[in-house]
Symmetry: C2
Subunit: 333 residues, 2 copies
């Protein structure tokens, strides 16, 4: 808070009115005469009066502010979710506080506690990798126990009882694979992935496998997993060189898609002729002008919008029975 500024009390003295009359005038209350309102408002403008919203929030018991904790703002997916949330909240007269956990549980926990200590009316969380791996959610369940409205998105977990917003990873992967087969005419599709234990990866792999099976296509030797970018590149490169039937790559995460692009591009300069269609989950491929790339659009802004909507609903009617999990549709582009 900034230095001392004009207060209601000061203005009320100057105008020979009571504090409450001044307060009501400024909030355009119907109790006050038009004349008085005019006097007060004009005087307030002269004084450069700025209401102390912190005091008002304190008194009223709510802040019209929502807290958001995300793992990483450099990932365009989260950045877009933030934009979706911000737009929705702004429209509804709410403000947004953002904190970046940087994939650390400690940072996440501290941010959440700070925010929940009076500064926000509710929280939106995408948990850190650390939290997901440790599978310990006391810091979140504690807040829920104290009545803090919370909505989780993207990375969710069953051990927390709250509203959630996700994309249908299984269906997204299934549909993408299906699209490669039916619309792009691919038959020998390999799936590539950077190892991570997160929930998403498993569901996406399932979607791929089942889509392949449903078309009687073989997935043996077609799932390439590595735990480093370099490792994945090598495996992919080797596979493409030895198995000339491969006609598509389905990358189930950011790095997998990027590495698929770089590897095929490099092979091409080395004289590799086969046409390889690339599809997958990727949020930072905009600048990579590549018309043949099939991107799973995770509708990040829509996720943001839906998340914010769900939270405000929860805040407004304190006792809704049971929690919802919303699924946001994906589409290929």
């Amino acid at each position: 808070m900034i230095q001392s500024r004009t207060t209601l009390s000061e203005m009320s003295k100057a105008l020979n009115l009571s504090i409450s009359t001044v307060s009501k005038s400024l909030s355009d209350s119907s109790e006050i005469s038009a004349l008085t309102k005019k006097r007060v408002n004009e005087f307030a403008r002269q004084c450069n009066y700025i209401p102390n919203n912190l005091a008002a929030s304190f008194r009223k018991g709510y802040t019209n502010t929502i807290g958001l904790v995300i793992p990483n703002i450099l990932n365009p997916f989260y950045a877009k979710v933030l934009v979706g949330i911000e737009n929705y909240l702004d429209d509804k007269g709410y403000r947004l506080i953002t904190s970046i956990s940087n994939e650390s549980q400690d940072k996440e926990s501290k941010s959440l506690n700070k925010m929940a200590s009076g500064y926000v009316d509710g929280l939106i969380i995408c948990i850190s990798k650390e939290t997901e791996l440790k599978n310990k959610y006391d810091h979140i369940n504690g807040l829920i126990g104290q009545g803090t409205p919370i909505v989780m998105f993207d990375r969710i977990c069953e051990m927390i009882d709250c509203d959630k917003v996700i994309i249908d990873d299984y269906k997204a992967a299934y549909d993408t694979t299906e699209h490669l087969i039916s619309n792009e005419g691919c038959k020998n599709i390999i799936m590539t992935s950077l190892i991570n234990n997160l929930h998403h990866g498993k569901l996406r792999a399932e979607g791929y496998k089942n889509a392949m099976k449903s078309q009687n296509l073989d997935v043996n030797g077609k799932i390439l997993v590595a735990n480093t970018v370099e490792g994945l590149k090598e495996k992919l490169s080797a596979k493409l060189k030895t198995d000339k039937t491969i006609d598509a790559i389905f990358g189930v995460n950011e790095q997998a898609v990027l590495q698929a692009m770089h590897t095929t591009r490099r092979l091409k300069t080395e004289g590799f002729k086969n046409k390889i269609t690339i599809a997958g989950f990727c949020n930072q491929c905009q600048s990579d002008y590549n018309p043949s790339l099939i991107i799973v659009n995770q509708n990040a802004e829509e996720i943001g919008t839906q998340t914010a909507k769900l939270l405000l609903k929860r805040i407004k009617s304190t006792e809704i029975k049971g929690y919802r999990t919303k699924t946001v549709a994906v589409n290929l582009s």
Copy 2:
């Protein structure tokens, strides 16, 4: 703010202590006996006591919170600045509120006012394009007049009297051009730009021109400006086809660099043989694996760190004489 929770008053009654003793115990005051502290802290834990920091902020008159308003979070430059700010502030025990102006002056102004109405101890701003074009800064100067500590970064202006952090655009452009000439052996360097009236563009163009002049290189017909992406692509393409001596492109902004890359890549597939070196200002080229690209690294995180540092300094010693403008070094990568 969330439902009613345990308060100091409630605990003090239950423990037969005064409110102030409880308060002092929880803040580990040396005035209180070890025994009492222990009793209080244990009881507080049992009650799941969460201090109401909003009330504390209100009482104390400061919030340990900083407000940030940026034009666009999808631009990695701003996202990185945010990371730099957040890390620094977190380290110093401050929190960050972020708002996206989306290049709109109205949104910017509203966000700033809200934040300055008690929620923050100081503000960090990168003004919107609209604000820069209108050249109207009342909404910011008003806040400064009321004593709000403010630091501007990246897009600054002389009409606002406050601390500022920028990169040296002129020098960055000069050095890049110089680098193309001396280290890359280029002689016929064209400069490309999307028209925008912003300060940056002019300084960068000056840097380019003077670097060329200092080496007695001609810039006639070498400055390509357009106001649409398509227009720039066309001009560039035409230029490269007609003037085969061109050996480098210096893009003075994001889109200019991206279009230079796409255009040369496309020409190459059409049989264009000349080697064209590309350099410029670009924040989203990470994924575009292109080793020959020379990127002006704007050190966004460092800008964030310096901005936050300057602000906290200003907040702590209210009356420092005069305002500073810090220049953060750039480097090529």
